[in-house]
Symmetry: C2
Subunit: 143 residues, 2 copies
Amino acid sequence: MTSTATIADASVTGDVSSPVRCCAPLASPALSDTEAGATAALFKALADPNRVRIVHLLATSPGPVCVCDLTEPLGIGQPTVSHHLRKLLDAGLVRREARGTWAYYSLDGDALDRLVRVADLTGITGAAGIAPAADTTEVTEET
Amino acid sequence: MTSTATIADASVTGDVSSPVRCCAPLASPALSDTEAGATAALFKALADPNRVRIVHLLATSPGPVCVCDLTEPLGIGQPTVSHHLRKLLDAGLVRREARGTWAYYSLDGDALDRLVRVADLTGITGAAGIAPAADTTEVTEET
DNA sequence: CACGAACATCGATGGATGTCGATGCACGTT
DNA sequence: AACGTGCATCGACATCCATCGATGTTCGTG
């Protein structure tokens, strides 16, 4: 189906006046399926309020935090906390350190850096198709 | 609910040697419930491979893109594309411009900036409880 | 004025996910 | 050795979500 020559026939004249077929030949997905999935997985790890709170608690804590420290401020059961921590662990956002009976969790600074980088990558700041929000131009000079 | 005063009794002795009750009183969630929810919602908007691809396509496209331009590279139906675009629209990541029969979408540069800022905010880079992911355990480094 | 195209919405459905209670395991104290 | 504590896992359940097909609306052309 990708052979739709009619699409190319629509031409990229730029005028959107006639309902021919529309559809200018967009760039094919330069993002591989695997990469898109990995990026989505990283975001999905933070797509829950309680996990956001966990990351925030880990960030604001002066040191590693054990599971039982999280159940109360979050207001959820211990199995659920373990569940969320596992999600964050799988995403590589936190690190686990078993210490006797306890399990201490801490943020992975490298992962957070990766997160910021992905956020930039997603938008490719400075690309063309970005509508400047308000003040036109001036679109985040980023790094 | 959870009036467990015993927790405070555990005290912040700092030594984790005896299984008294553990649980040093972590800082209460400095993140408001509303804020945590908003942050999670922003991440949730990008927690899907197809939406990541859409954002990528919008970013790499030389100009605004209509819905029919997306159905083919994504390989999903038109209603589903509209569904995803609505999610991105609700999250404020894209902007919609009706133009005759077509609807043109473009990225919202301000929203992307906000995304990067939230990613920073989530981790508060430079906070204490962050493991530098240095040489120690070498993590897994995923794929 | 009638037809076709693009798009949003509706209803339905299968799969993923957050939450809980109960259970099992590891470890340190008594 | 026996007990208690912290934690991960299991099974179950309710809910959310991505996807599709069908439908209705709007707009431009013949």
